[in-house]
């Protein structure tokens, strides 16, 4: 909107309204405060003039206004017209004050801020009132259409009111004005991929959105279709909705999903409500039987009457038929405290501490899976078998024997030079025969290839085993570190009673060190007068990288560092350290420890205990994951080893089928050449020496 143009608007009676500050901007228009009328707001459309249908729909809505609707919705009061052109330009609605969006009640961080007093009871009450508002609209033949977390406001008394009503589906005589928009996370499967502008919505569609809203409230912000999917796949919420994968459903074989960690479970609610949710979220195609707003009101009213307070923690309220407080269960598993007592010092019952202590006492540190070098069996070449009979001698066998004969002849050279000549000829001939004969070549190549293959496979396996060992060692190192940290934290927990301040000091020191190690000289050289990138890298090579390393001792070791720069470095270190702000990790800081004494210790212990328990769960899953990973890797290794074993077997079989003499000589062309020359050479030598 161009300001100045539309500062003043009039309604159909000619009454003037002056627009004040911009309250919000949406897809269709901007909402302004109305000067001098704090209970009203004016929505001015972006599109000017708006479509005739928009105007007709708003006229119908203004005409159907009644006190019942005014009670649950910011129902349109009047159409607004430009005082210049006389064209429709917007709509006048009540301004809902002192209320927040629904997601600021069920979202935990926002709830702590805007509704610090709210307990689960309030969420159930809000759910009940949301259902009642739906019921009232449905009773009047009006459909919400675009159900979402943003078009409902809630105030401190858990009263709810709809805003942005102009998107509703309304009827006027024979004319139905559709709702052109939708929010996919709240849209039932049968409307997926449908062009909403031309879609006639039904109450059953709205009831799907209603159930999703109620779920968000009862399950403190969880979406019913967001959970952990079995297997290694990704999935969007829309797809989960389309496939009826209600993550909290009891029928996990059908949904292949489980609820996310640290959440309420479906059976933490009365069985009747469980059934309503299953009906709403897992309705098959072609059925229109989702729970009505009336059904929800009835069951939620019953739940409100059957609530119970937890004996450990007064902020915990739950369904009275449960044997155990679900909020305690979530916290004991390391989940958050969803509800907090107003003000900083909470009342923690002694039982709660005892309970956590007992859990910590039972705490076991999981063992990390061991990997021994024996896990890797690399197949080796096996000595050939000695056979009783070798079948028909081949050319290669004959040549090998001829070699031996020629060699003997050669060595007879001192007796007669002729023997040398004959031997040399024989040696050459048999060498040539071995080199050129087809079957000899085939034998040589077959064994050669097998031997090469085996060698390659062995190298590969050795490489794999090294990789697996290294990966395992890396996992183990991080596991060991985690275990050590966990043990330290347990000791902090135990020390808290006597020396809370010391423990806090320790936390502060850890945080400060972390802060300083990440504050690198090389990245902050400009803060130190006289520091250059070159000097920074010299310092780095002497291990001086962060303020933490700036000590007299370390700097002595660095040559070429003049006193001025040393002083600047110290000054810089002090400046950086002063920048550090301690973030109390448990909401307990030094002044609490000074003043509070017991309360601070308790608060510290409870949060610390929770962190420890949560970390121990993580350690368990780390160990389990490593075990699985190692198993997978070893199976993989064994599979690779199988093929190498096969190669070794084949090699042995091939070698065993050959006569030993032929096997030795007919290894490779080099061996044949050496054998060919060795006999005559030895003969010649013998002749020269003794002949």
């Amino acid at each position: 909107m161009k300001s100045g143009m539309l500062h003043e608007v009039i309604d159909s009676e000619g009454e003037k309204y002056l627009l004040d500050e911009l309250l919000g901007k949406g897809g269709e228009g901007s909402v302004f405060a109305v000067h001098g009328k704090p209970a009203l707001a004016a929505k001015v459309f972006h599109k000017n003039p708006p479509a005739p249908e928009t105007v007709a729909k708003l006229q119908a809505m203004v005409a159907s206004r009644n006190p019942g609707l005014d009670g649950i919705a910011a129902w349109p009061r009047a159409l607004l017209y430009s005082s210049h052109t006389g064209e429709a330009c917007g709509v006048l609605t009540p301004r809902v004050r002192d209320a927040r969006h629904l997601h600021e009640l069920y979202g935990t961080a926002a709830r702590r801020r805007f509704f610090p007093q709210a307990r689960w009871f309030h969420l159930v009450l809000a759910a009940r009132n949301v259902a009642a508002a739906f019921d009232a609209l449905h009773e009047s033949g009006i459909l919400i259409g675009d159900v979402n977390q943003g078009n409902l406001l809630i105030d401190e008394t858990m009263r709810v009111r709809f805003i942005d009503c102009d998107s509703f589906q309304v009827r006027s005589g024979a004319q139905t004005y559709y709702c052109p928009v939708g929010t996919p996370h709240f849209t039932p499967p049968e409307l997926h991929g449908v062009k909403l502008r031309d879609a006639s919505r039904t109450q059953d569609h709205d009831r799907f959105g209603l159930a999703i809203l109620l779920f968000h409230l009862l399950f403190v912000g969880r979406h019913p279709f967001a959970g952990r999917l079995f297997g290694d796949r990704d999935q969007t919420i829309e797809r989960a909705i389309a496939e009826r994968r209600f993550a909290f459903s009891k029928d996990r074989t059908a949904t292949l999903m489980e609820p996310p960690p640290a959440s309420l479970r479906l059976d933490d609610l009365p069985p009747a409500i469980e059934k309503l949710f299953e009906r709403a979220f897992r309705q098959p195609d072609g059925v229109a039987n989702r729970p009505t707003a009336q059904e929800w009101i009835q069951q939620l009213d019953a739940l409100l009457a059957e609530r119970k307070g937890c004996s450990f923690d007064p902020t915990h309220l739950y369904y009275s038929r449960l044997s155990q407080c679900p909020w305690c269960r979530i916290e004991d598993e390391g989940g958050p405290a969803f509800f907090v007592l107003d003000g900083s010092s909470s009342i923690i019952s002694p039982q709660r501490i005892e309970h956590l202590e007992a859990q910590l006492y039972r705490l076991k540190f999981p063992a990390f899976p061991q990997l021994s070098p024996q896990s890797f069996k690399v197949p080796q070449a096996i000595a050939p078998k000695r056979l009783q009979s070798y079948g028909q001698p081949t050319v290669a066998d004959l040549a090998a024997v001829a070699f031996a004969g020629s060699a003997v002849a050669c060595l007879a050279s001192p007796a007669s030079p002729l023997a040398l000549a004959v031997g040399a000829l024989g040696s050459l001939a048999s060498g040539a025969a071995l080199m050129l004969n087809k079957s000899a070549i085939a034998k040589r190549q077959e064994s050669g290839e097998l031997a090469d293959g085996l060698l390659a496979a062995q190298n590969d396996l050795n490489r794999k085993s090294r990789a697996i060992t290294a990966a395992h060692a890396k996992r183990q190192a991080s596991f060991d570190q985690a275990t050590a940290e966990l043990k330290t934290e347990v000791s902090h927990y135990r020390a808290a009673d006597g020396q809370l301040k010391d423990v806090l000091a320790l936390f502060r020191m850890t945080q400060l060190n972390r802060f300083l190690t990440n504050y690198l000289i090389s990245e902050h050289a400009s803060e130190i007068p006289g520091m250059t990138p070159a000097l920074a890298s010299v310092l780095q090579s002497y291990g001086v990288e962060s303020p933490l390393d700036v000590t007299q001792m370390n700097l002595f070791a660095v040559p070429m560092l003049h006193d001025g720069l040393t002083l600047e470095l110290f000054a810089w270190r002090d400046r950086v350290s002063r920048q550090f702000v301690f973030k109390p990790e448990h909401g307990v800081n030094f002044s609490d420890a000074d003043a509070g004494g017991k309360a601070a210790v308790q608060r510290f212990k409870v949060t610390q205990a929770r962190r420890i328990l949560m970390a121990s769960h993580h350690l368990d899953s780390l160990a389990a994951a490593s075990r699985n990973q190692l198993e997978r890797e070893l199976t993989f290794f064994d599979r690779s080893a199988d093929s190498a074993r096969e190669l070794a077997k084949n090699l042995r079989a091939a070698q065993s089928a050959r006569r030993p003499l032929e096997r030795i000589i007919n290894q490779s062309p080099w061996m044949i050449a050496a054998s060919t020359l060795a006999g005559p050479a030895a003969g010649a030598l013998a002749y020269w020496l003794f002949g």
Partner: protein
């Protein structure tokens, strides 16, 4: 570094509490920022201001503040995980300083690793998420191996595992950015970092109201008075 007991907003390995307290679907975005010496002077100053604008704009929107998660990887001399994924509410814009060369390839790799790790945490904690963003801002050219990263980016874009955007500040080697990114890289007009981050925030607000998996048409950043880019 204390892995398990670090501040929960800082360390994702213990995200269960974080995710239980705020189970809203997430829009993860990792900024990959060039902090090599060529960015010195007013550039890095404007960039730092831009980061604050980004945070402030996100915080104006209650839903986006809960859904958009920001991480920052810098590359100047070495690659640093300056900020690990945090929701906008907990995002403290760092003050970046310039130093050293331009290991862009390694930085992108780190960023894509972070996205992968974060995705794993979402899955473990039953958190829905939108397609992650990787947003590269540079005024130079890589002095390390970037070709393997280009293949990784292309494969990731094809699988819709993330959207990779490259923005060149004057002096950037657009030819390489073109080869890196499946999308057309954009030039930053002058030093309009504030406009860039406002656009980023607005786009992510729009995405955070859509549904995971949807293609949200982005406002053309080269047009209009709020434009900050040219092709």
């Amino acid at each position: 570094m204390n892995k398990f007991f670090a501040d929960s907003t800082y360390d994702g390995s213990f995200g269960a509490v974080e995710f239980a307290e705020n189970p809203e679907p997430r829009v993860p975005c990792v900024l990959i920022v060039d902090t090599s010496t060529s960015m010195h002077g007013p550039r890095i100053g404007e960039l730092n201001k831009g980061l604050k604008v980004y945070r402030d704009e996100l915080l104006c929107d209650a839903l986006a503040a809960k859904r958009v998660e920001v991480a920052v990887v810098t590359f100047g001399g070495r690659v640093t995980r300056k900020v690990d994924f945090v929701t906008a509410t907990n995002f403290q814009p760092p003050t970046l300083e310039v130093v050293g060369g331009t290991p862009m390839g390694a930085a992108i790799n780190t960023a894509l690793d972070m996205i992968e790790e974060r995705r794993q945490q979402y899955r473990e904690n039953g958190i829905a998420y939108y397609r992650p963003w990787a947003f590269l801002i540079t005024d130079g050219e890589p002095n390390d191996q970037w070709q393997p990263v280009a293949a990784r980016i292309r494969a990731g874009e094809q699988r819709k595992a993330f959207s990779f955007f490259a923005v060149g500040v004057k002096g950037a080697n657009m030819e390489i950015l073109q080869k890196l990114s499946a999308r057309k890289p954009l030039w930053l007009q002058g030093m309009k970092f504030a406009e860039l981050f406002r656009w980023l925030s607005n786009s992510q607000q729009a995405v955070s109201r859509s549904s995971p998996g949807d293609e949200v048409p982005l406002v053309d950043p080269t047009q209009g008075p709020d434009g900050w880019a040219f092709v």
